[in-house]
């Protein structure tokens, strides 16, 4: 132990910073990738049971090794680059899809003080990073030199830009309540028990944010960008093997990201739903009922369950109805609620409801 301490103090400070940050990155990415793998498994199992099937149950005990087998299969498959495709952009597109969805995790607070970067404009950074994800889709569609892929990319571009506005407005409501763009401060403003969480005063914004999040990740029922009954597989129709798998990883990493953000901004992040005075002072029980990362994981999992439930339940939206929902329903709803919130906070004595 002493030897390691001396070794650590012996290396230059910039190398220390680099090493700590690298450890942080690994500590975030590895559980995230495992989460993605088992989210695909959970999806197949849950949708299976909802449709009175069993789902994957052959690989390993009760099918638990299925995602590993899928991963190995995808890695061993050949990557086919279509003729006349733009080779550089074709390879670049999956990278551009996954990079922002991983980069956004840098500012997520997992527990009190557990974040890779505690930047002040964290909320804006998240918005900027999630808005970059669309480039992977657009470039994939264009570089594939395929009509179906291009159609899928066009649909994705229009849809994501439209829903980003509603999403941004929903977050404006959150930052008005919290008075900060820092995600850690946003969570701490919701301290004191479940009745302080922003999901109650900002319920319309919560709904808009969550549904826009489903649309942003191109998940059912908003998955027109890859609607298989209309345009085969949309933007990634020409991709195979690992290149396809990277798109797949990006989609599921984005789902987990949206679920985490919903938990952080509306459901109190890592905070326990019980007020501090209700938690008994018994060793194990106080740890379980008190604040901690396990509450964040529970919240993320419950939000993710809704993603899967939606997919099993709703039929796909028609394209013009998606546009109508985004522009004519969500944006007015958010604007009205921001107005209500602003008036209540500054002109009426009920402002405390929104804090």
């Amino acid at each position: 132990m002493d030897f390691f301490l001396q070794f650590w103090q012996g290396i230059p400070p910039w190398l220390q910073i680099l090493a700590t940050n690298l450890m942080w990155v690994i500590a975030i990415i590895v559980p995230l990738m495992l989460g993605v793998a088992y989210l695909t498994f959970a999806e197949r199992k849950i949708i299976g049971y909802m449709q009175m099937r069993i789902g994957p149950n052959r690989v390993g005990p009760r099918g638990w090794l299925q995602p590993i087998a899928d991963g190995i299969k995808l890695m061993l498959k050949e990557i086919i680059v279509p003729t006349n495709a733009n080779k550089y952009l074709f390879v670049l597109a999956p990278v551009l899809a996954i990079a922002p969805s991983l980069a956004a995790w840098a500012v997520i607070p997992f527990n009190d003080g557990w974040a890779l970067a505690k930047i002040d404009a964290g909320l804006l950074y998240i918005l900027a990073m999630t808005s970059l994800g669309v480039y992977g889709v657009i470039i994939a569609g264009w570089a594939s030199n395929s009509k179906y892929a291009l159609l899928g990319a066009m649909r994705a571009a229009a849809q994501i830009v439209s829903y980003e506005i509603a999403m941004g407005f929903a977050l404006v409501g959150v930052l008005m309540s919290a008075g900060s763009l820092n995600l850690h401060n946003i969570v701490m403003q919701q301290a004191g028990g479940a009745h302080y969480w922003y999901v109650l005063p900002l319920f319309p914004l919560f709904l808009v944010y969550f549904i826009s999040g489903v649309a942003e990740t191109n998940r059912a029922p908003f998955d027109v960008a890859e609607g298989e009954s209309e345009i085969v597989a949309g933007f990634h129709v020409e991709y195979s093997g690992m290149a396809f798998a990277v798109f797949f990883l990006a989609e599921y990493a984005n789902m987990i990201l949206i679920a985490t953000l919903t938990a952080v901004m509306f459901l109190g992040g890592w905070l326990s739903p019980l007020p501090a005075s209700w938690i008994p002072d018994i060793p194990v029980l106080s740890l379980i009922l008190g604040d901690g990362i396990h509450w964040l994981l529970v919240k993320i999992s419950s939000v993710l369950f809704f993603f899967l439930w939606f997919r099993a339940t709703f039929p796909r939206y028609r394209y013009d109805q998606i546009m109508r929902l985004g522009w004519k329903v969500f944006i007015p709803v958010t604007l009205v609620w921001i107005l209500v919130e602003g008036v209540a906070m500054f002109l009426t004595p009920w402002g405390y409801l929104f804090h």
């Binding site: 900027a128 657009i138 990319a153």
Partner: protein, 200 residues
């Protein structure tokens, strides 16, 4: 001795100049738009280096995340004829060169006049570690520059209304649904039960 900041600055500047040059020289319009995205992104990185994190993130959010996506959307739909694009290059070359040389001369004249440079500007005081760029900008915008800000907002609103008024036209032969009517429909509006005598 170059510090780490110098290395970062020169690296990003080199990428920015390269990307900006590619935007105007590359033939394929989609690739030109993608290089423009790269130059916006690099400019944002340079702003972060100046501790202007709000401006940098807004640049990425608005220009890279929204404006350029729509730009690519349009450019990808265009059927660009490269041969026609190259037509008339020789005609405009002389005028273009003249303008470029003039601009260069003007820049050299102004920048070498001795009125610019670090000697005339004191370095700004270092920011506190918890200094919030966003908060400072917000307070300025809503107090000192409130009227300018409101007028800018009004101008943008007028622009939105004008764009919609110019582009919107009602076609009589378009079929469309009214979703609120569809939701309000009753069983009696759609179903008519006809009593029929059963045949033997």
């Amino acid at each position: 001795m170059m510090s780490f900041q110098h290395i970062v600055f020169f690296a990003f500047s080199a990428i920015l100049v390269f990307a900006a040059t590619m935007v105007v020289t590359i033939r394929n319009p989609v690739k030109a738009a993608l290089y423009l995205v790269l130059s916006f992104f690099t400019a944002a990185a340079l702003w972060i280096l100046l501790q202007a994190e709000f401006l940098a993130i807004i640049l990425v959010l608005v220009y890279v995340g929204a404006v350029m996506v729509l730009f690519l959307f349009v450019v990808m739909m265009l059927d660009v004829n490269l041969a026609r694009l190259r037509e008339g290059f020789g005609e405009y070359l002389a005028i273009g060169l003249l303008v470029a040389v003039l601009l260069l001369l003007e820049m050299i004249l102004i920048l070498s006049s001795g009125d610019f440079g670090t000697a005339h500007m004191t370095a700004p005081a270092a920011l506190a570690a918890d200094e919030s760029n966003t908060r400072a900008l917000g307070i300025l915008l809503y107090t000192d520059y409130l009227y300018t800000f409101e007028i800018a907002g009004l101008v943008l609103l007028v622009a939105i209304v004008a764009a919609i008024a110019l582009a919107m036209r009602k076609r009589k032969d378009t079929k469309f649904q009214d979703p609120s009517k569809q939701v309000r429909v009753n069983r009696d509006d759609r179903v008519r039960i006809v009593k029929m005598k059963s045949g033997k």
